[in-house]
Symmetry: C2
């Protein structure tokens, strides 16, 4: 079966209605829809509308609050801890990022750790909110444990992504957004659907042996930190994943490491939580807190232009700037539509029927 293609508007209408049906007020439903569908636009299909039914199931399991009172529980001039009140991460995260931006306007930078939240879509979306303010944006989140630290057979970390968005002048912004594992879980899901093997270095068996089976995590195996093995620096990927976990959850008071609750509703959260929900961490840095914004942007344009002009390896078309592939994909999909895998379409149709909605 081939993918079906939907316009952004079709998916937007459907998603808005679903969020409305589960009780999200209109402003929150709009926010959540923007975040979720930005993943589909940018080509990170695993984090977009494919997860909509997952969020609904968490809501049905009473693990997501559709009308959260997101609030600051601790703060300093440049920091805050936000309690997400078990809200949709898709709503809590942009609200927390707005707080970071507001702090940065006054203090130069703003740093917000969030507890009691849920999965927040793509990290890049939240980091990019800073750009229109001539700020650098940073977003991180922890996630349910799928990743084994170097030398471990136990899964203690999530794929814990980091996003950094940096404004430029005439050039498009620099936007890095990546899981701190060799490969994101979404890439394994693609291999699972296609019944293909993974490269060595992405996953290990339940005994910690190298594996090429993309289903390995379902039988106790684990994803591997960026670096693939000790000789190629997997301990550095482990450091990065740990950094994200500690900033997102130990600073905020959320669950960390193996205590992070699962995204899927059919698995129960650990019975011995060490905090509230999952955690995120956001940063906003006014570039003119360091040098005049025009100077900064001029040099970012020069940086980007120079790296873009680098001589490519034979067989490669060009050297990319972080954010290039996703920006180009976004423009293409806004114009040509968003392809959805048949399994995702089926899942969405079932979801729609339960609420009396039709995916047009």
């Amino acid at each position: 079966m081939t993918d079906s293609v939907y316009t952004y508007r079709q998916l937007q209408d459907f998603t808005l209605q679903i969020f409305d049906k589960i009780g999200c007020p209109p402003a929150e439903a709009t926010l959540a829809t923007d975040v979720l569908l930005n993943a589909d636009l940018r080509g990170i299909d695993s984090h977009g509308i494919a997860r909509l039914s997952g969020y609904v199931r968490l809501w049905e399991a009473k693990r997501i609050n559709a009308t959260p009172a997101v609030r600051i529980v601790h703060e300093s001039p440049s920091t805050a801890v936000v309690d997400g009140d078990s809200g949709l991460g898709l709503v809590v995260a942009p609200k927390a990022m707005e707080i970071a931006i507001a702090k940065a306007k006054v203090a130069g930078t703003g740093w917000v750790a969030v507890k009691n939240s849920n999965h927040f879509g793509i990290a890049g979306h939240h980091a990019m909110m800073a750009l229109e303010h001539d700020m650098i944006g940073i977003a991180m989140t922890n996630a349910s444990p799928l990743v084994a630290p170097t030398f471990s057979i136990e899964r203690l970390l999530g794929t814990n992504p980091i996003a950094v968005a940096i404004p430029a002048g005439s050039q498009p912004p620099f936007v890095a957004d990546f899981a701190t594992t060799t490969a994101a879980n979404g890439k394994l899901e693609i291999l699972q659907r296609k019944n293909q093997q993974a490269p060595i270095g992405w996953i290990q068996t339940k005994d910690g042996k190298p594996s090429t089976d993309p289903n390995e995590a379902k039988s106790g195996g684990a994803l591997i930190p960026l670096g693939s093995d000790r000789e190629h620096g997997s301990h550095k990927g482990y450091c990065l994943g740990a950094w994200v976990d500690i900033f997102s959850a130990v600073l905020s008071g959320a669950n960390y490491g193996p205590w992070v609750p699962p995204f899927v509703a059919f698995l129960s959260p650990p019975s011995d939580p060490v905090g509230d929900g999952i955690g995120h961490f956001f940063g906003a840095m006014r570039v003119d807190a360091f040098r005049p914004a025009a100077d900064f942007k001029h040099h970012m344009d020069n940086w980007i232009t120079r790296f873009r002009a680098a001589k490519p390896i034979e067989g490669q078309e060009r050297v990319l700037i972080p954010g290039d592939p996703e920006r180009e994909m976004s423009a293409q999909r806004m114009h040509e539509g968003i392809p959805l895998n048949p399994k995702v379409v089926e899942d969405l149709k079932i979801l729609g029927e339960r609420f009396g909605l039709v995916l047009a």
Copy 2:
């Protein structure tokens, strides 16, 4: 030939006298010696006393100022840009980190970008300065271009390390400190000395082909970003190295990318600089700007204890916490002495003779 072993005190006396001879005031000489020798203690031999003659040659080439006026040139409540006045990075960096710590005391966090500096030793040393203040410390620096971005045959980035130091309670602190390449340049230097081959994934030829020759960079080859190749996430390592470069140099007004001046005095800096010297970036975050320090430390202890207790892969003794190997090495070398490679000893003896000093 085997290594010679020196006590910390012997190397400290020698290094202090060398810095004195090149005109460093006593306080600055002490600061620089502490930073430099901390690398030897922690087992990062490439960044320690082995580099002392390199710093002296840069001073002789008038590219290092022994009596810099390190000063803030731009600031906001939580940020500053520091001009290092061409000082030793070993002196400029701890002074800039002190500014970050002072900002954090008032604003919750402090973020300092530095221009017009030189190589600063090990990033971890500076990040760890935050610990005694119950703060998280962050340190980054750019460096001369040895690394090719993914798909590039040109070298546009340094090995651009990131260090993050996080305080705990009864447990030792979490200290991550790593180059954003698959392997640090120091590891290649070890292979060069031993005449051994490198694993595939560390370096590429001048045409961008995989190589195992640790001398490849001397004939136009390049180090590879963390990840080793595109399939294993080298684009993520490229993002990390780029992030460090931009924070260190585009925020501060230092040279970035291919314009970063070389550490070795026999190579001239680029004739078309885009900024001043090399750049660093430091952060200090008061943990009690997020939650009471005792709560934070209690949960860090729990995090560390849980990860340390992870079941190891067969054949591995244990799962490590970032900072464990360096802390253990430091205790051992403080007690048993610091082994120096014969080539390093020879180099130091020649250096000593020029200044009428004997390496005891």
